[in-house]
């Protein structure tokens, strides 16, 4: 129920307007008094509280008729804001260009979960769609009152409401609401974050009516970036600001026991901030802060080096105690089927720790003025950073204002949230605003890592070669050793270095597919972290958390089984896949790539340079994607060139096809990088991947020559995510293509030249 119906405005309106006498014609503005009196119900001058149950928390109409959309998620580079503006413009019937999307500001948006799990459109857009539809409904209802016509004869074009039978009866959104606020209650489900949902009474449009949604509208924020007109979080400055740098131990887990400040007495204006394991410096000038952090003499506590030899990482995982085990899917009797099998095929796979290795190390600026805390952060989740800062600084939540500004890249829980907390501790200690940027070795060496894991798969075959059972299990570090955001001090480096005990969580996952086998079991196990405090190998979410790992293994294995029964890799998959949309993406990719139906491997190649093709597919929270990789393998060097990709992608309704294609291209290229190159190295003391030499990523000379994307649009289905699904099958598609080319199966990522060469020899 809206407040509109609870008020007496209708009667006041009737008195004021004399029952339908008002005719608002072109160019004749309604008097402010009139509009204000009528609008009191739905619109008010004072902003209602910023709570998820208020329409004003999502949508505002400005005096000039432009629309502000306040979004509690944010764009990490895909142009999400364009899609959100399309959705808002569509439902409100206003021009696309009149909508401005404000993202990730705790001062004007509610906690919609931030950038998380490819839910920007799937969940965030859903809420903005419902709020916009409700805004339109309310505005039309207001117009009906003002124009004294039934609401159902009103139409809206470009923010102008008019009577369909008499276009002279018209009034604009701006005239009714401009500059004031909606006073409309939504039906909030009382949840925050991704689960937040607060619809009004309105039903959104039928997709068949969509004119703006579905259009390939370009990003308006490219030009400001290209002409250096846009500030990144690294560029924000405030008066009196000083520069901070953090100092991390050479042996993970050790803490400073002696800090010799005289060692940096020649550095001007420097201050040391040391509390338990927390050690940083600030200086007026950035270069001085860097110099001080490098030169400061520190004696560290002696601790046992915490990590195993990297060479024994996978042994460690296999032998480690299981902290949590979970069977996520099970049907039939797998054990009985394996007992009765004529033949069993089994294989193990391995995936290393990987780093976000964002383009730059994280940066944050924190200003504490009186009891008010202001933070600019590149975080994916500003509302959680708000919570984390309140807890870290011991101040009420409503005294903390966090503003997201685009940072140096983000692919999950990277180092951004840790940086915001560290900056806050420094700012509090020195009583000045602190801009903290980590250094490169900290960005790669100390960000939360994508978990390393092992995977076991097996199938039972009967005498005819039919699969009678399938079992897949993963064992690895948790995807939430530290949580996906910095909302709690036990999840951040500052919290842990200041003595808050880690509360390591457990989570992994299973393959997302629709292979129907009579007996099937999918499960996972997590193991404890290697170090229980401020660890450079703590694990959390890295793009498509555990998805690339799991589907590298599961989709490689399905290929192994297909090859073992001498079946074509696609024909074998289609024999077992039951979901029609899954079948459709596979068929679409095969058709686009001119897939040649035959078993793998190829047997027609000789010489050192060979080629192959491989397919892999996966679901992800409603989205389906099939990827066909075509690779060249140089047997003499072991070098893989992932030359061409064909991707078929179904994420339900497409909001912006061009943005979607760019999003998929980025997934594929980053997926190739993670598959061919990326592995966090470490010794017993510390992470040794500290720069772009020790953590190489894909170079432009190795970039795929072609990425062909087939978009399957389902306007009748709600949109699902696209930010991560297509990175999921990339590693398996490449592995399967290498097998097709060479007959050799590579079961450990990355497929570096040394590893491939060794496997081929």
């Amino acid at each position: 129920m809206t407040k509109f119906e609870k008020t007496s405005s209708f009667s006041r309106r009737s008195v004021l307007l004399g029952g339908g006498a008002l005719v608002v014609s072109v160019g004749a503005a309604v008097s402010l008094d009139t509009v204000m009196s009528i609008g009191t119900a739905h619109a008010q001058g004072a902003k209602p509280p910023l709570t998820p149950d208020q329409l004003s928390s999502y949508i505002a109409v400005n005096a000039d008729g432009t629309v502000a959309a306040y979004f509690g998620k944010m764009d990490m580079g895909h142009g999400l804001h364009v899609a959100i503006a399309q959705i808002v413009a569509e439902e409100l019937d206003v021009p696309f260009k009149s909508v401005k999307v404000f993202m990730g500001d705790t001062g004007n948006s509610v906690n919609q979960g931030g950038a998380s799990g490819s839910t920007g459109i799937q969940l965030g857009g859903k809420q903005m769609r419902m709020a916009s539809a409700e805004a339109r409904r309310v505005l039309v209802e207001m117009a009906a009152g003002l124009l004294s016509v039934p609401a159902d004869i009103l139409v809206v074009n470009d923010g102008m409401v008019s009577a369909s039978d008499d276009k002279s009866k018209r009034i604009s959104y701006a005239e009714m609401l401009g500059g004031k606020y909606f006073n409309v209650q939504l039906d909030w489900n009382k949840k925050l974050g991704n689960e937040l949902y607060a619809p009004g009474k309105a039903q959104p449009k039928n997709p068949s009516e969509h004119k703006i949604v579905g259009q390939p509208i370009k990003r308006e924020d490219v030009a400001p970036k290209v002409f250096a007109q846009e500030d990144f979080v690294t560029d924000i400055k405030v008066p009196g600001m000083v520069h901070g740098r953090m100092i991390r131990p050479a042996v993970a887990g050790s803490v400073p026991v002696k800090v010799d400040e005289s060692s940096i007495q020649n550095v001007p204006g420097v201050k040391v901030v040391w509390d338990k394991g927390f050690l940083g410096v600030v200086a007026d000038r950035e270069w001085d802060a860097i110099q001080a952090a490098e030169k400061l003499k520190v004696e560290w506590s002696a601790v046992e080096p915490p990590f195993p030899d990297q060479a024994s990482l996978y042994d460690h995982i296999r032998k480690a105690p299981v902290r949590k085990a979970q069977v996520e899917k099970q049907n039939g009797d797998v054990d009985a089927a394996f007992a009765a099998a004529a033949k069993v095929i089994a294989a193990d796979y391995e995936w290393p720790f990987q780093s976000h290795a964002s383009m730059g190390p994280a940066c944050a600026l924190v200003e504490i003025k009186g009891d008010q805390v202001t933070c600019w952060s590149g975080t994916q989740k500003s509302h959680f950073v708000q919570e984390g800062l309140a807890l870290t600084l011991g101040v009420p939540l409503d005294k903390v204002h966090v503003m997201f500004r685009g940072g140096p890249g983000s692919y999950g829980r990277n180092d951004a949230d840790d940086c915001a907390m560290d900056a806050a501790v420094l700012a509090k200690a020195v009583g000045k605003p602190v801009r903290l940027q980590y250094m490169r070795d900290q960005g790669t060496g100390w960000d939360p890592k994508g978990p390393a894991s092992t995977h076991k798969a097996r199938v039972a075959l009967d005498a005819s070669g039919k699969v009678t059972a399938y079992e897949f299990s993963s064992k690895g570090f948790s995807r939430v050793d530290v949580n996906t955001n910095g909302g709690k001090p036990y999840d951040t480096l500052s919290g842990q270095t200041l003595g808050v005990a880690l509360k390591s969580g457990d989570g992994f996952g299973v393959p997302a597919e629709s292979y129907a086998f009579d007996n099937k079991k999918l499960s996972w196990e997590t193991i404890p972290p290697l170090l229980d405090r401020s660890s450079p190998l703590r694990t959390s979410h890295l793009r498509d958390p555990v998805g690339p790992q799991i589907h590298f293994a599961s989709e490689s294995f399905i290929d192994e089984v297909a090859a073992a029964v001498n079946a074509d890799a696609i024909e074998f998959r289609l024999r077992h896949i039951k979901e029609p949309r899954d079948v459709a993406v596979i068929k679409a990719a095969a058709e686009k790539a001119n897939w040649d139906t035959r078993p793998s491997p190829r047997k027609d190649q000789t010489g050192s340079k060979v080629s192959g093709r491989g397919i892999a597919y996966a679901q992800r929270n409603g989205t389906r994607v099939a990827v066909i990789a075509e690779v060249d393998v140089d047997r003499s060097t072991g070098k893989i060139f992932a030359r061409k990709f064909t991707v078929a992608h179904d994420c339900g309704q497409i909001i912006n096809p061009d943005g979607l294609v760019k999003c998929i291209e980025g997934n594929i290229v980053q997926g190739v990088s993670r598959t061919l190159w990326e592995e966090v190295t470490f010794d017993k003391k510390a992470v040794t991947s500290v720069d772009w030499i020790s953590y190489p990523i894909l170079d432009i000379t190795e970039t795929p020559g072609e990425v062909n994307v087939v978009l399957i649009n389902h306007p009748e289905l709600p949109p699902s995510g696209a930010g991560e699904p297509s990175i999921r099958p990339v590693a398996a598609a490449i592995a399967n293509a290498i097998f097709d080319a060479t007959g050799v199966r590579i079961r450990r990522v990355p497929f570096s030249p040394e590893r491939v060469k060794a496997a081929l020899s």
Binding site: M76, G77, H78, G79, K218, R219, D221, V222, A223, K225, V226, F227, A228, E230, D231, F232, T234, D235, R285, E286, W287, A357, S358, M359, G360, P361, G406, G407, P408, G409, S410, Y411, Q437, M439, R440, D658, K662, E665, G666, N667, I668, V669, Q670, S673, D691, W692, I693, I697, L698, D699, I700, T701, T703, P704, V707
Partner: protein, 155 residues
């Protein structure tokens, strides 16, 4: 310890009082007040800090102030404007390259320096010229399209 340096940046003179060993990047960002050369690695490994010094693309994060001399520095902000864009800037907008955009300086400033001396480059030549630059979001395919488009525009 600190010295005065006279810098020519995007056609304007600036005086910077700083440690001669301080990399140019920090002078451009903090003393001149530019937002565009970015800190990515401080090791000349990624390109985010790239500017042109007398037409050459250099990594300002490892270029000490003492090595700049009276060279003319051009940053992304000085390469072109929305009214008078450099072709590579036009091409970047046309091809809608960015994901996060933090790497842009490296690619655009390097490509602009390359295209100034190389007409009608092949794809392999473009890739070689840009090799070593980093883009973590994986926009390489769009970057290549943009550089090719700019090369065509520049004849």
């Amino acid at each position: 310890m600190s010295q005065k340096f006279n810098l020519s940046v995007n056609g304007k003179a600036h005086t910077v009082d700083a440690d001669p060993d301080m990399p140019l990047l920090y002078a451009l960002r903090n003393d001149v007040g530019l937002n565009n050369p970015h800190f990515g690695c401080g090791l000349a490994q990624c390109g985010a800090c790239t500017v042109q010094l007398d037409g050459q693309a250099i990594r300002s994060c490892v270029t000490p102030l003492s090595a700049v001399g009276d060279g003319k520095i051009v940053t992304l902000a000085g390469l072109g404007t929305p009214e008078k864009p450099h072709p590579i800037q036009t091409a970047y907008v046309e091809e809608q390259v960015p994901q996060c955009g933090y790497c842009i300086n490296g690619w655009i400033m390097t490509a602009a320096a390359f295209l100034a001396t190389k007409k009608k480059p092949s794809e392999a030549e473009i890739k070689d010229a840009l090799s070593g630059l980093k883009c973590r979001c994986g926009t390489h395919i769009s970057i290549l399209k943009a550089v090719k488009r700019a090369a065509e525009m520049m004849g």
